[in-house]
Structure formats: structure tokens, C-alpha cells
């Protein structure tokens, strides 16, 4: 049976030899396309073109079905028609223009006009029975066999939805009859790095274009009054999309990056990761990871639980849940060494005989008078999908809250992005708060998301009002990804990274759900030396933007890395709880070029290791039969579980500094830290349960509740009490 395993079957699957005739057909079609592309490229048209740029933005590449799309598409269809029609009209050399308006469209509408030798295909009379379609012409030029019957069958149906979306043909036709040359002048294929045009949108545009062409001159020919309803289209989609590309750009639309997303469960996207496994000290004694002060995961989990369902496994990052809460780790007194580690050792509730090592650091808290000037640029997503109470309105209120925490001399600028990116407010001092608030509340949602454009503009503004010794930061508020513009995550990442070098940092605030792109926010914030937070309620906004505003605005240490070397004489196995997405290679620790997490003023970072001491029965991995037993004990280190090293750079520093400290077996838990240790352990247990509880033994939600309830401590804002209710909700939702 194993020989028939699916792997075997796949390996054995051998495609039959390609059919020579089919190959020839494909070859001809491709060569024709190739020549057309290059013919179109050689057309002399000025490169700068705002109209087409906008037009292209109207066709977002991802078929994500934002609720807003129908609204704006309907409204803007007319505009599209005008632009497409007009561009079609003027791309054609004057001599042949009259051909273009003939009811039965001839070759001239297609910009192969400059191509002296139409390739491969012979010119022939259009075979297709339907007139007025430029793409039909190209279709007709292809040998009939080019389109396999399967491909053709579905096509006319494919157009139906777009036909509705394209709006009223009659009014579009009216609009076109009076083309204004001043409007038309700039039409040309622009130079853009990335063109995002969905294939299905291309249909729509091809439709509008053809309608428009038909309508440009309502001559009495048989096809001149062909309405949208009567147009039937045959032909391969490749023909059409290439027709569109040829006219508007030489770049390929959509798909490649767009379709390679992380696995989509629901519409919210999270990067998948496996939880840290148990490691044997004798084989891998050193564990290295980067600090993480993000809390987005906790807020997202809370939101899901509040709606009565368990969160997606990949949305749960245990370290972000732990770090959501404030712990009583002693803070450093000096700005020069911005934190000192606190290490405690306690019994593990997840397995008998195991121990937990807590490593906590709390960043130095900047006194208010020392706080540097702030140059803040708010970059707000105002796309149609933000039109929900928990999105743009919440973002506006959150930003207003943030203004309260700033000094009068700090400046704020506002940039929005949707269909187009725009500067709403130039850098304005907080003194003029009314102006800022007015600008902020004047924003209304509408359009698709051209995030990358907005980011560039925001960085421009931030650089314009750059404060050399101050904080220069962009605060990006969005509900989703950037589906127009730079959609390539790596490209965006590189951009943010380069700007970071210039001293402009970026933080990410996520709103709403439905198409929340957690992975995108994480990427941007991590590369922009910023924080990624998820805002689901005004309370959360208060926590992130007001109570922790100094933390999210003032970095006190950057590239903070942790490394723990375990003592093989005392520790058999260890496991780092969480931080999966922050793992570093051992050699990265001393490499100052390797980026790591940043810590803001007053930020606390907590990491928990679960260890199995030597001699405990809880061991999961058997000893190697041949390895030599550890000798460290002989050197007098038997009183240590391991050795902690922390590397960090000061905010303006380029060389890292090192903090070292042994982890003593008898460290215990000081009474003042008992609540912190207990509560963080409860949160860690909860997070692991939500991720499936692979290593938590018999732990149940009830145990988490019991442990957390005993460690509520002061809890001035009620965050810990809220945690308790969440665990209850998880228990109901999951039935565990």
C-alpha cells in the first residue's frame, strides 16, 4: 500500500509528451502576444500620466470583495469609460482613427498599429458574429483551435457580474460624445513598478472600453447601437487581459504575489508558525530570541472570544499575550543602562517535576520633562471598508485621545489613503488642536486601499518636519492590507527598513476584522522599529495610546536580544514559551547587524522557559547513549541553571551592549513578584491552551482561572479582571 502512497503517486505522475500541434498553437499565440507587447512598448507616449494612474487604481488587484466596491465602482464607472474611451481614441494615430469608430471595429483600435509586421497570424475577416469589440478582433485573428472548447464555454457568463458593475451604458455613452482634449492630453502608459489589475477587473475595463469605442461615434452602422446587454464575448481571457496591458502598461497584473498568501482561514491573515519544541540541553544548550513588546495578538484573541468563538490558532502568540500585562519587574534607574533583568524560578503548573524560569525586564521610564519633541504623522486608511463603527470612527477617536498626551510644541500631520493618497493636514503643532481635530473628524471612508502610496507620502511629510533630536514616527491605522500600489510585502518591508535608517520609525494600529492583515502589520512594525497593536475598543486605544504612549513613542533600547545558555549539569531539557516568530540563530546574538525588537520607555518584556532539571522523571527525550555526561558541575557551576545574556543598543547607538547574569537554582520568587510570576504563568498557560496545549499536560481553563484569580494584584485598569472573563469565554466556546 505504501507504494501507492500519494507521494509515490505524485512522483510517478508523468505527463504525456506534449502534442506538437498544440505546441505550435501556443507558440504562435505567444509570439503574436510578444510582438504586440513590444509594438505597444515602442509607441511614443509620454510616460507621466496621472489619469491612467488613477484609472488603474480603480481596479484593485485582489478579488477580496470589499463591501465598498460596488458603491464606488458604480459611481466611477462613468469616469472609467470616459478615460478608457478617450485613451483608446487617442492612442490611435489620426489617420486610422476613423476606423476605430466604425461600428464593426477594425484592427485600428488595437495598438498594434505601429507594428509593421503583424506577427504570425494572418489578417482575416472577423469571424465572430458580434461587432464592436476590439478584443474580438484579436480573437478572430487567432486560429480557431487556439481556444479549447472548455475555455470558451464559460466566458460569456463570466462577464455578467461586471456588466452590472459597469454602470449605465447609456450615460457613459453620453459622457463620451464630448471628449475634452484637455482631459485627454495626459493619457499615456505610465511607468510604474507594480501594476495591480485583477483579471476579472480587466474584463470590466475591456467591456467599458469597447462600449465606449462603440459609442464614440453613433454612426448608423449595424453595430453602433450595441448596448452592453447585447455584447457577447468570446475569446480567451489572456487575450483580453493582454489587450488591456498592452494599452495601459507593460507590466503584468496581479496574481503572483497576491495569490501566494499565508493560509487564509477566515479572512484575517496570520503567519503560520509551529510552537517551540522541547529541546535537549546536551544537544542544543543555547536559546536565542528577540524581544517583543507587541500586544496585537491579545487584542485579537479577546475580540474573537468576545464574539463567542475560539481564535485561529495562528493568531495566538503566547509572548504577546504575556506581554500585554504590566508586571512588577523592577525598572532601571538610569537611562544609560535602560533595564536590568529579573530572574525567578518557580514550579511549573504544566508538568510535575518541571520548573519555570521567568526572565523579566522593564524599561527605564523617561520623566516627562525629558521627553523629546515628537513629529508624528498619522497615516489613516479611509478606504470603504473602514466604514464601520469599530474602524475609522474608532481610529479617529483613538487619535484624538493620543493628541491629549502630546506637548504643545509637538507636531502632527495627517495623511490618508484610499483610492488616492492625500495630505489632509500638514505638520501642525499641538497648540492648534482644534485644527487638527477638525481635520481628523472631517475624514470619511470611501475608495479602495492604496496603502503604499500613502506610506510614501507619510514618510515625505515626516522627513519634511524631521526633528533631529526628537521622535519621528508614523502611526499607521488600517483594517487591512494594501491591495493597490506596492503589494509586495518584501518591497514594502525594504522601504520601511530604509526609512528606519533615516530615523523615521513606524508603528501599526490594526482595526476591525474581516480582512485584517496581522502579518502585514507585524512585518511593517518590526521593520520600522515600531509597535504593532490591535485596537478593538476605545479602552484598548486608551491603553496603547495614552497609558503606554511614552512606551510606544520613545524607544529606550533597540535591537534587544536574549540568549540563555543552559547548564547541562543541572538542566536536562528546556522549552521557550512563545517567541516562535522571534527566534534568532545562536550566531545572530553577537551580530549587531541582525535586527531585533525594541523597547520603549516603561515597556515590560517577559519570557518564560519551562525546564526539566536533571534527574527529573518528567523528561521527554532520552539521554544519548554515547554522549559524555556533562562536566560543568566539576567546575563549580552546579548552583546555576544557566546563564542569561542580553544584548541591546541605545536608541542612537550602533554598537550593542551586553548584560550578563547567571540563573541561580535558588533564585526563587521574591514575595513582591509573586503576583507577577503567577499571573504571567496563567496567561502563558491560557495562550498555550488556545494553541492546542501540546505541552501543558492536564492543564484546563479552570486551572488558569484559579491561578489568575489568585494573582490579580492591584489591577488599576481592570485588565487582569478582563482576562478572567476571557478565559471563561474560551471555556464556553471550546468546551474544554
Amino acid at each position: 500500500m505504501n507504494a501507492h502512497s500519494f507521494e509515490h503517486q505524485l512522483r510517478q505522475a508523468t505527463a504525456p509528451a506534449p502534442d506538437a500541434e498544440a505546441q505550435l498553437r501556443s507558440r504562435n499565440a505567444a509570439l503574436a502576444e510578444f510582438q504586440r507587447v513590444h509594438a505597444a512598448a515602442n509607441q511614443t507616449i509620454s510616460p507621466k500620466d496621472t489619469w491612467l494612474f488613477r484609472l488603474r487604481r480603480l481596479f484593485p488587484g485582489t478579488g477580496r470583495g470589499r463591501p465598498s466596491r460596488n458603491l464606488w465602482l458604480g459611481g466611477l464607472a462613468t469616469a472609467c469609460v470616459v478615460v478608457v474611451a478617450v485613451s483608446t481614441f487617442f492612442l490611435v494615430p489620426p489617420g486610422q482613427r476613423q476606423v476605430a469608430v466604425r461600428p464593426s471595429i477594425d484592427t485600428a483600435t488595437i495598438p498594434e498599429v505601429n507594428n509593421p509586421t503583424p506577427p504570425v497570424i494572418q489578417e482575416s475577416e472577423p469571424v465572430a458574429p458580434t461587432p464592436a469589440m476590439p478584443e474580438e478582433k484579436t480573437e478572430a485573428q487567432q486560429p480557431k483551435a487556439v481556444i479549447p472548447p472548455e475555455a470558451v464555454r464559460g466566458r460569456p457568463k463570466a462577464l455578467n457580474p461586471h456588466r452590472q458593475r459597469t454602470g449605465k451604458p447609456a450615460s457613459s455613452a453620453e459622457a463620451i460624445t464630448t471628449p475634452d482634449p484637455s482631459v485627454i492630453a495626459p493619457v499615456s502608459p505610465p511607468e510604474v513598478d507594480e501594476v495591480v489589475v485583477g483579471h476579472d477587473k480587466v474584463y470590466a475595463s475591456a467591456m467599458t472600453a469597447s462600449t465606449a469605442v462603440a459609442a464614440v461615434q453613433p454612426s448608423p452602422g449595424p453595430g453602433s447601437d450595441v448596448g452592453l446587454g447585447e455584447i457577447s464575448v468570446t475569446g480567451t481571457r489572456a487575450t483580453k487581459s493582454s489587450w488591456f496591458n498592452r494599452m495601459f502598461s507593460r507590466k503584468e497584473p496581479q496574481s503572483i504575489q497576491q495569490s501566494f498568501r499565508s493560509i487564509d482561514e477566515g479572512r484575517d491573515q496570520f503567519e503560520h508558525f509551529e510552537i517551540n519544541p522541547v529541546k535537549q540541553v546536551s544537544t542544543e544548550p543555547v536559546s536565542t530570541f528577540s524581544a517583543d513588546v507587541d500586544t496585537a495578538s491579545y487584542s485579537f484573541v479577546r475580540r474573537e472570544l468576545n464574539q463567542g468563538r475560539l481564535p485561529q490558532v495562528d493568531s495566538v502568540r503566547v509572548e504577546e499575550m504575556i506581554n500585554y500585562f504590566d508586571y512588577a519587574w523592577p525598572a532601571s534607574e538610569s537611562r544609560d543602562q535602560p533595564f536590568e533583568p529579573t530572574v525567578t524560578v518557580s514550579d511549573s503548573p504544566w508538568g510535575e517535576g518541571k520548573k519555570l524560569i521567568h526572565i523579566g525586564i522593564k524599561g527605564y521610564e523617561l520623566p516627562v520633562r525629558q521627553q523629546p519633541d515628537i513629529n508624528l504623522v498619522l497615516l489613516l486608511d479611509v478606504s470603504g471598508s473602514m466604514d464601520e463603527p469599530d474602524k475609522l470612527p474608532l481610529a479617529q477617536k483613538s487619535m484624538a485621545l493620543l493628541l491629549e498626551t502630546l506637548k504643545p510644541s509637538d507636531t502632527v500631520a495627517i495623511v490618508v489613503y484610499a483610492g488616492a493618497a492625500g495630505e489632509v493636514l500638514p505638520p501642525t503643532p499641538i497648540k492648534q488642536k482644534e485644527t487638527i481635530l477638525q481635520a481628523l473628524y472631517s475624514l470619511t471612508p470611501g475608495g479602495s486601499t492604496a496603502g503604499a502610496e500613502g506610506i510614501k507620502l507619510a514618510y515625505d511629510l515626516a522627513e519634511r518636519s524631521f526633528r533631529k533630536n526628537g521622535v519621528n514616527r508614523i502611526l499607521l491605522a488600517t483594517d487591512g492590507d494594501f491591495n493597490v500600489g506596492i503589494t509586495n510585502r518584501n518591497e514594502l518591508k525594504g522601504f520601511v527598513e530604509r526609512e528606519r535608517e533615516k530615523g523615521v520609525f513606524l508603528s501599526f494600529l490594526g482595526f476591525g476584522e474581516g480582512n485584517y492583515r496581522d502579518d502585514m502589520g507585524q512585518t511593517l512594525a518590526q521593520n520600522g522599529n515600531g509597535v504593532a497593536a490591535y485596537i478593538d475598543t476605545l479602552n484598548e486605544a486608551k491603553k496603547v495610546l495614552v497609558q503606554e504612549s511614552t512606551a510606544s513613542l520613545f524607544t529606550i533600547a533597540k535591537d534587544v536580544k536574549f540568549q540563555v545558555e543552559f547548564n547541562p549539569a543541572t538542566v536536562a531539557e528546556y522549552r521557550l514559551v512563545g517567541y516562535e516568530t522571534r527566534a534568532l540563530n545562536r550566531e545572530d546574538f553577537n551580530n549587531d547587524k541582525v535586527d531585533a525588537g525594541d523597547i520603549g520607555s516603561g515597556h515590560a518584556v517577559t519570557a518564560i522557559y519551562e525546564i526539566t532539571p536533571v534527574g527529573s522523571k518528567a523528561k521527554l527525550i532520552d539521554e544519548s547513549r554515547y554522549a559524555e555526561p556533562a562536566r560543568a558541575a566539576a567546575q563549580g557551576k552546579a548552583s546555576e541553571y544557566g546563564f542569561l545574556r542580553i544584548r541591546y543598543k541605545l536608541p542612537n547607538g550602533f554598537r550593542s551592549r551586553l548584560i550578563e547574569q547567571p540563573i541561580r537554582i535558588d533564585a526563587g520568587v521574591p514575595e513582591a513578584l509573586r503576583d507577577s510570576v503567577e499571573f504571567s504563568t496563567a496567561v502563558a498557560g491560557f495562550g498555550q491552551l488556545l494553541r492546542g496545549g501540546k505541552y501543558t499536560g492536564t492543564l484546563k481553563f479552570d486551572d488558569v482561572i484559579r491561578q489568575a484569580r489568585g494573582a490579580l494584584g492591584d489591577d488599576p485598569y481592570g485588565y487582569r479582571a478582563e482576562f478572567l472573563t476571557l478565559v471563561h469565554k474560551a471555556k464556553e466556546a471550546g468546551g474544554k
Binding site: 493582454s242 496574481s255 503572483i256
Partner: protein, 179 residues
């Protein structure tokens, strides 16, 4: 990528028809092979292949020599295949003709039927699973290479491969352990 192909691509990007044609001939079989493994169906594979060729013509200019050309080509074909499949699902849901088994021999055609079932099954597991399995098992690429082509991390590929096997084992167990 070896130099002759690089030169060929550069010339083709510059608009040289002969170079493009040569490039196409060089890779046609590979494109067809991937397309066929995607759908296990000859005419459908030809359809995908043709669209891939056309797309190659229109988007070759974007190839920037950052990844191996073959990797880039994989991306292109997979994206065409996905587009193709989307239209199929939308319009021909009921009528996917199980056409000509290749080869002819009965054992051969049994294999072929199994492959088509397998592909359907992979489709059902989740997005990205089929292409992952094809690249890794059928094309013999490493997890890292497959990750690069599919735009996900190597560990995601490893995880998917693991998930597929788990799923398949379960499915097999449900069917009484036999195929």
C-alpha cells in the same frame, strides 16, 4: 541560471522575437508538464500551457533575474493554472469531462484516474496545498525552493507537507486503509 539562457532572456526582453521563440521552445515541455500535473487532463493542460505562453510573452519584461528563471516560470504557470481553475469552478462545476486517459494501457489509465482524484483531494485540503504537494513531490523541489516559488516561508511548506500527509493518512484510514 546558466549564461546562455540569461542572454536569451535578455535579448527576448529587448524585443528579439527569435530569442523569445527559442526560449519558449526550450521551456515549453516544462510548462506543459507542470500544467498537466496540475490538472491531469490533456486538453486542459494545453489550455493552461497556452495561457502561460501568452503570459510569458506579456510579462517577461518583469523578470529581473532575482530568482532562477525556472522558479519564476513555476510561479507564472501556477498563477495561470489557478486562474484557469477559478474559471472552471465558476462555470463548469458540473461538467469536468474525464477525457482521454493518456497512454492507453489499462494500468496506466488507472494511475491516471487516481492522480485526478488525488488532485481533487489536495484541492479540498486547503489553499496552496496542491501546489505545495506538486512542487515538492512531483517536481522534487526542496522545501526552500517551493517556499520561494509560492511566496511563503520554508517552514510553512514543511508544515503544509506535514498537514497533507496527516490528512491523507486520515483519509486512507477512513477508507479502510486501502486505496
Amino acid at each position: 541560471m546558466d549564461d546562455p539562457t540569461t542572454g536569451l532572456i535578455r535579448r527576448a526582453q529587448g524585443g528579439d522575437v527569435a530569442s523569445f521563440s527559442e526560449l519558449l521552445d526550450l521551456h515549453y515541455a516544462a510548462i506543459y508538464r507542470i500544467a498537466w500535473k496540475w490538472c491531469g487532463h490533456r486538453t486542459n493542460a494545453e489550455d493552461i500551457t497556452q495561457q502561460s505562453c501568452i503570459k510569458l510573452a506579456s510579462s517577461l519584461a518583469q523578470y529581473r533575474f532575482q530568482a532562477a528563471f525556472t522558479s519564476w516560470l513555476y510561479q507564472l504557470v501556477i498563477s495561470c493554472a489557478r486562474d484557469w481553475q477559478r474559471t472552471q469552478q465558476r462555470h463548469d462545476h458540473d461538467a469536468l469531462p474525464a477525457d482521454d486517459p493518456p497512454g492507453g494501457g489499462s494500468e496506466r489509465s488507472e494511475d491516471y484516474i487516481y492522480l485526478v482524484q488525488l488532485l481533487d483531494q489536495l484541492d479540498d485540503i486547503g489553499e496552496g496545498m496542491k501546489e505545495t504537494a506538486l512542487l515538492v513531490h512531483a517536481e522534487g523541489l526542496s522545501h526552500a525552493e517551493a517556499g520561494q516559488i509560492l511566496g511563503v516561508s520554508e517552514s510553512t511548506i514543511s508544515w503544509r507537507i506535514h498537514a497533507i500527509r496527516k490528512h491523507m493518512n486520515k483519509a486512507e484510514a477512513l477508507m479502510g486503509g486501502g486505496v
